[in-house]
């Protein structure tokens, strides 16, 4: 697992967990293994001390027993003055145990008889005095001939019960140490082995129970750090590690969620910006078109006015009048286009106010009536009783309805219809005709500015685009469809409360 220095997240990965000591392992060693090892060492030390004391006592008891065993024959032999029997009794101690020497002294400490290595004289010591005063055995360490010796002294009683001398039994002082040496070595070897087993057990147990799972978790984190943000840690291992993994996953989930929301916000922002740009573009195009329309309007009025003056002059022949008619009709066409262009370009500000649908529709019908009568079409008007008033720009809505009615009129054969209904949230105005139905085009194309199915001069191709613009201004919708019974239906759906604000 290679990690370059550029990685933003530096993680302590353990490829060989037993070769490197982690913090947790250090804690385990410090707070578990070390106390166990120290306590067992103390226990062994105490046990060995006890064993050594016990052994020393046993060895001393041995000497005392040996002393007591020979004190009787030696005392008897001394009573009889039989020195040979004394020496024989002294010699018997070597058979009994690891005794280095035995000797018999008189009550003042002068040596009477001896065997092996013993003191030559006790007169210079306090031992005869101590034995006489206590009547009990005494112990002493001494060096004889370069050897460290331990001696046990026992009083010798005569038949009258008086102390007549003392017996000394000696053995090498190092015997006491030697006896325990082997035990000590074995004990400390076992302790060392025990410590190693504990150490290995803890380290292996840590790796198997915790370290391994922590390593896996670290590997999961590494993958996330390397950019795989959708990666999630597996929830195995001990509860604590699984909880950590779960926490990590939850954190990653919330980060991902936050990122998703951020992306959505960004997308919405981009969309809004694009829309704003579109709107700005439309406003710019609108003001340009308004400028052009205004510039064209005045000269067109002048041309029309001059032509009208000529017509009125009354001194023109038929042909000249006909030509003037042609001029005026073309000027009229241009004027219509300019006016429609002005209508299509959204006004700089709308003027919403409380409107009654019935009144709005009546106004539009009155406006179209001359055209209706000229074309000899009938109009069906059906306004539901429960249609409430709503907020809108009367001028713009009249314009939209007039355009829809004019379209219907031009497509119709006998009659057109207009109706208004509501579902209490929307106002639906339907304008129908009995004509040939919608042309074979994409519906969206029908709403494009300057698209027209009429022959040149009959329509500017701006009518439906104007209606669409007015619908958008009112947050409404324009739908075109073929009626099953023939003809076409235009639906203008307007929200009754587009902004929830009170109508001015």
């Amino acid at each position: 697992m290679h990690m370059s220095k550029k990685d933003p997240v530096k993680m302590n990965t353990l490829p060989a967990p037993l070769l490197r000591i982690s913090g947790l392992q250090r804690s385990l060693l410090l707070f578990v293994v070390l106390p166990i090892v120290l306590l067992t060492a103390l226990g062994i030390r105490f046990g060995l001390g006890q064993a050594s004391q016990f052994q020393e006592k046993r060895l001393k008891n041995d000497l005392e027993l040996i002393g007591r065993a020979i004190s009787l024959p030696v005392g008897n032999a001394l009573d009889k003055g039989d020195m040979h029997a004394v020496e024989l009794a002294l010699g018997s101690v070597f058979v009994l145990g690891e005794v280095y020497g035995a000797s018999v002294f008189d009550a003042t400490g002068n040596r009477i008889a001896s065997a092996g290595i013993t003191e030559s004289d006790l007169t210079g010591t306090t031992i005869p005095d101590r034995i006489r005063s206590t009547g009990e055995g005494q112990e002493a360490f001494s060096r004889i001939g370069g050897r460290s010796l331990f001696s046990h002294f026992l009083p010798l009683f005569d038949t009258a019960g008086q102390i007549q001398g003392l017996i000394q039994i000696t053995r090498r002082a190092s015997d006491f140490g030697h006896a325990l040496q082997q035990l000590t070595i074995i004990a400390w070897l076992v302790w060392g082995l025990f410590s190693l087993v504990i150490l290995a057990g803890v380290l292996l147990g840590h790796y198997g129970g915790v370290g391994r799972h922590v390593d896996k978790l670290l590997q999961h984190m590494q993958r996330v750090a390397e950019g795989d943000l959708s990666h999630r840690a597996a929830l195995d291992g001990p509860t604590e590690v699984a909880n950590l993994a779960q926490g990590l996953n939850r954190m990653l989930d919330s980060i991902e969620q936050a990122n998703r929301e951020l992306d959505a916000h960004r997308a919405a922002e981009t969309h809004l910006l694009a829309q704003l740009k579109d709107n700005e573009k439309m406003v710019a195009i609108g003001s340009m078109a308004r400028g052009i329309a205004h510039e064209l309007g005045a000269p067109l009025s002048v041309i029309d006015g001059r032509a009208r003056r000529l017509q009125r002059a009354g001194n023109l022949d038929e042909q000249q009048l006909h030509n003037l008619d042609g001029i005026r009709s073309q000027v009229g066409r241009l004027t219509r286009t300019v006016n429609q262009l002005l209508d299509y370009c959204r006004p700089a500000a709308t003027h919403p106010r409380e409107l009654t649908p019935a009144v709005l529709i009546e106004t539009v019908i009155e406006a179209i009536r001359p055209e209706l009568e000229a074309a000899e079409r009938s109009l069906n008007c059906d306004i539901a009783n429960d249609v409430p008033s709503f907020c809108g720009d009367a001028g713009r809505l009249e314009l939209a309805l007039l355009n829809l009615l004019r379209n219907a009129l031009q497509a119709s054969v006998k009659q057109i219809g207009i109706s208004a209904t509501t579902d209490h949230h929307h106002l639906l105005i339907r304008i129908t005709d009995d004509g040939p139905g919608l042309p074979e085009h994409e519906l969206s194309i029908l709403l494009e500015p300057f698209f027209t199915t009429k022959s040149p001069g009959e329509g500017t191709g701006l009518g439906l685009a104007i209606v669409q613009a007015v619908a958008e201004e009112h947050r409404g919708q324009l739908t075109l469809l073929d009626r099953p019974e023939g003809g076409c239906e235009a639906r203008l759906l307007l929200p009754l409360n587009p902004t929830e604000e009170p109508c001015p």
Partner: protein
């Protein structure tokens, strides 16, 4: 013609101005035509008018700015 009604016409578009002036004069009115509000003010200062026809959008001050002068001229003894 001198006792006919006097119309003050204010229009910055020359073509329209001349057309309207000709039409009105053909109808028998006395017409004073101005291209902007300032010259119309000058005319109103010197003589009264029976009718003011003005474009709203004019270079400099707009057509509505002529209304106070009209009111003053109406109170003038010459009116």
């Amino acid at each position: 013609m001198s006792d006919s009604e006097h119309i003050l016409l204010v229009e910055d578009d020359r073509g329209l101005r001349e057309l309207i002036q000709e039409e009105l004069e053909a109808e028998g009115y006395r017409v004073t035509a101005c291209a902007d509000a300032e010259s119309a003010q000058t005319v109103l200062h010197d003589q009264s008018a029976d009718l003011l026809i003005s474009d709203l959008r004019l270079p400099g001050a707009d057509g509505l700015s002529l209304l106070p002068s009209c009111a003053n001229a109406a109170r003038h003894p010459r009116c």
